[in-house]
Symmetry: C2
Subunit: 194 residues, 2 copies
Amino acid sequence: MSQAPRTQRADARRNREQLLDKADAAFRRHGVRASLAEIARSCNIAIGTLYRHFPTREALLEALLRDRIESLRNHAERLAGSPEPLEALIEWLREFGQCSSAYQGLPESVVATAGDEESDLHAGVMSMHAAAGALLTQAQRSGAVRPDVSRAEVLALACGAATASQYGTADPDRLLRLVVEGIRTPAGAAGADG
Amino acid sequence: MSQAPRTQRADARRNREQLLDKADAAFRRHGVRASLAEIARSCNIAIGTLYRHFPTREALLEALLRDRIESLRNHAERLAGSPEPLEALIEWLREFGQCSSAYQGLPESVVATAGDEESDLHAGVMSMHAAAGALLTQAQRSGAVRPDVSRAEVLALACGAATASQYGTADPDRLLRLVVEGIRTPAGAAGADG
DNA sequence: TTACTATAGTGAGCAGTCCTCATGTTCCGG
DNA sequence: CCGGAACATGAGGACTGCTCACTATAGTAA
């Protein structure tokens, strides 16, 4: 029973926060394969402590991503019902792209992790996708976006554009706008096809 | 001067071929970080021999890529002057996407390597880009593609679409077609803007 | 065939990484 | 101040990438 301290000890919480902070920086700089020992070192924390907080690299990534994914879902829900569905979709895809390309190798990692239904990320990713799907459907109902593109296709294109923009010198916003041109309803099409 | 054997020894050439063959398979299965020791083992060749032929992982990748890159350049040059410039561009971008996404992590690797002007790949990649640029220009002159998209943007989009199609369930050809929709001249635009 | 040697092959070993766990330390409620 | 649960520690085992001193062989010439 007991009144045992329900909450984390103060030093542990401090360490956890610091680890997340430095891990984010390291993943941004070196991609998802950044050295965990280096992250621990940059916090003046022993490697064992890092593993106590985050038993695996994926756990650390999950912790970093959980907030962002929830934030993306909330953002999508906030944009639902916008009077300008296409602009809303673009705005959301821009943020989605930024998150997707924050760490090199992240999409592969997320797909591998979130595909596992046991994963903590699975549910979050699923509901984020659902919220994004609502945004897309809305833009399609408004007539701005072609009805024959799927949620998976739009997410893949936005993610691909954001990731690819890092390979070279292309501007991510510009690539996203080009992608959006591709999924818009062509000028002069009114619904029925030929 | 001397009559010393100018050419590679027969056993060395055999080993080299076998290494390239198995390395291609390993990179396809596990991405560009596949275990080199495993590749050597699958050839019944000592790890030192692999490193004798290919001093670094990048050298091995370069050897695998050189042919493909030259093939892409030749393909682009063959398609130059096609009576259907847009179809030609699409056909080439499809092959480009397939090559780009053959190994997981390849685009990052190629960009890092080819960006170095000392690299053996640099010149090949540059001339391939030039040939692709000609294809794009041709499609733009024909009026099929918007004049305001750059070569780098088109390559980035094609590469991104091909790569992203592997993250999920999206069909790479379908994504490429959507990308092409985005760079086409909008229906009902005749040059001057508003 | 044999002797010779440049070329090629070998794999133990170093260095770096991931992760574990037995041990030492610290916070916090009483 | 004490007890002990929670926490931190870092040496060490297992693995991987890569090196290099040594061995073996292909190909040449006598």
